[in-house]
């Protein structure tokens, strides 16, 4: 069995920016800086759990208007038809574009939802000491961090459509109020994934006392 020690138990910390392993006195009252890049050193991100909770709750609140308000308004020959995120997916299915419908559905509905749930599970595991497999939790965290950016897809589509379909009375596409809320949801969940410290998952693992 390999003898694995954490940097913290050896009196060291790796720089959060450049990953250099530095000597570290485990006391956040003392400001210590990375000798290589000058970033303030922390053994774990400061207040990681509290900050992630705050960002997650805000993101969850923004996720409601993002789905309830129309995200874009299509006006063709004087008829305004607002559509929500889910409505846009349904329209794509009606047109037979199943692949694209699945992409939009996953990127703008499934991903933000799973991100919220996944980070909440990780936070509760850390706070309540749930016995979940640390390896699986880290994989989930990595997944959450990787797929988060893909939720921006819908925002880009609306920006492009608004610029492209701008033909006066014949056809116009405008963004709806949900665009702001949805943009906020995406940014907040991305920030939540960034402030979450995956090392906390491993801190209570056996053999690392």
């Amino acid at each position: 069995m390999m003898d694995i020690r954490s940097a913290r138990s050896l009196g060291m910390a790796s720089c959060s920016l450049c990953h250099k392993l530095c000597r570290f006195v485990d006391d956040d009252e003392i400001a210590q800086y990375c000798p290589r890049c000058g970033t303030r050193l922390h053994s774990r991100y400061p207040n990681s759990v509290v900050r992630t909770w705050a960002l997650l709750i805000t993101a969850a609140i923004c996720f409601l208007p993002a789905n309830l308000y129309p995200i874009m308004v299509v006006s063709q020959l004087g008829n305004d038809t607002p559509s929500t995120i889910f409505g846009g997916v349904v329209t794509l299915v009606h047109h037979g574009a199943y692949g694209i419908a699945a992409v939009v559905f996953i990127a703008s509905l499934v991903v933000p939802f799973l991100k919220l749930i996944g980070l909440v599970i990780l936070l509760i595991k850390i706070q309540r000491g749930w016995h979940l497999n640390a390896n699986q939790c880290t994989s989930m965290y990595r997944m959450i961090e990787f797929i988060g950016r893909w939720s921006m897809l819908d925002i880009f589509v609306i920006a492009l459509l608004a610029a492209l379909v701008n033909l006066g009375a014949v056809a116009r596409i405008e963004a709806g109020p949900a665009a702001t809320a949805f943009g906020l949801t995406v940014v907040l969940t991305m920030l939540a994934a960034m402030t979450f410290d995956p090392r906390l998952i491993w801190d209570k693992e056996v053999g690392d006392e």
Binding site: I4, L17, L21, C37, N135, T138, W150, A159, L161, L164
Partner: protein
């Protein structure tokens, strides 16, 4: 090796030859790995470091190409459409402006940042840092610039934007005839350059240069002694590194 030994070595020798996984905090001794191999954390599977051959020159070539492609990608139309004899086309900038003009300034700022500003600043700052390294020119602001690049990492979303272009084309198909603009080709080129840049850049090597002020084109020398550099022992370290490089070539 007993843990007390690890501790002794880590504290009394050099810290540079050790590293900690930034996802699970496990401490390892850094080992030289072959070209085109990546090292992963044995405990959590996180990507630790990689050996990238000739990282400075290759990445510089890619980022310069990306910078050149940036201008046509932003200024030329990405897609155009024809409907009832009317035609319209959209550029990257026009997409941002459309949202801004409708009053969605926050959303337009987000689109501006993720599709134009961040990719551009990323390429520009990386180009400046790599030029400074290849000219063996060291300044404190080069370090700040590379730190800035680290902070921006993750906010450029060109690949997401490309899928967005595809989705909007499909959405418009039954309404009008859509055609691809010249800008889209430049955009795809720029996207490819940024992807290849992430594959060819070895941040650890760039940081080692910025720390020591020596341009060492060796991926990861076996002996940790190379990074025990003291500010006044630079020349010696440099020769050590080149010796290691030759050794590596002979072995191959």
């Amino acid at each position: 090796m007993a843990t007390s030994d690890i501790r002794q070595n880590a504290l009394h020798q050099d810290e540079g030859e050790w590293l900690a996984c930034h996802e699970c905090d496990a401490v390892f001794r850094k080992q030289a790995i072959d070209v085109r191999f990546d090292a992963y954390c044995p405990r959590c599977g996180c990507h630790l470091y990689a050996s990238r051959p000739d990282t400075v020159r290759r990445t510089l070539a890619l980022s310069l190409t990306g910078l050149i492609l940036f201008f046509p990608a932003v200024l030329l139309p990405i897609i155009g459409l024809d409907v009832l004899g009317m035609s319209n086309s959209a550029t990257l900038l026009a997409a941002v402006m459309a949202l801004f003009n409708e009053g969605y300034w926050w959303t337009s700022f987000l689109v501006l940042a993720c599709s134009i500003a961040v990719p551009f600043i990323e390429m520009l700052s990386l180009t400046v840092v790599l030029i400074a390294i290849s000219l063996d020119h060291y300044n404190p602001w080069v370090k700040s610039m590379f730190k800035f690049w680290h902070l921006l990492k993750g906010w450029g979303m060109l690949e997401v934007y490309l899928i967005g272009v595809l989705v909007s084309m499909v959405k418009l198909l039954d309404m009008a005839s859509v055609h691809i603009g010249l800008g889209l080709y430049a955009f795809i080129g720029m996207l490819l350059m940024t992807l290849l840049m992430t594959l060819s850049l070895d941040t650890e090597e760039v940081w080692e240069f910025l720390e020591q002020g020596i341009h060492a084109p060796v991926p990861h020398p076996e002996a940790g002694s190379a990074s025990t550099a003291t500010p006044n022992g630079d020349d010696q370290v440099a020769t050590e590194r080149y010796a290691l490089k030759e050794e590596g070539l002979n072995r191959r």
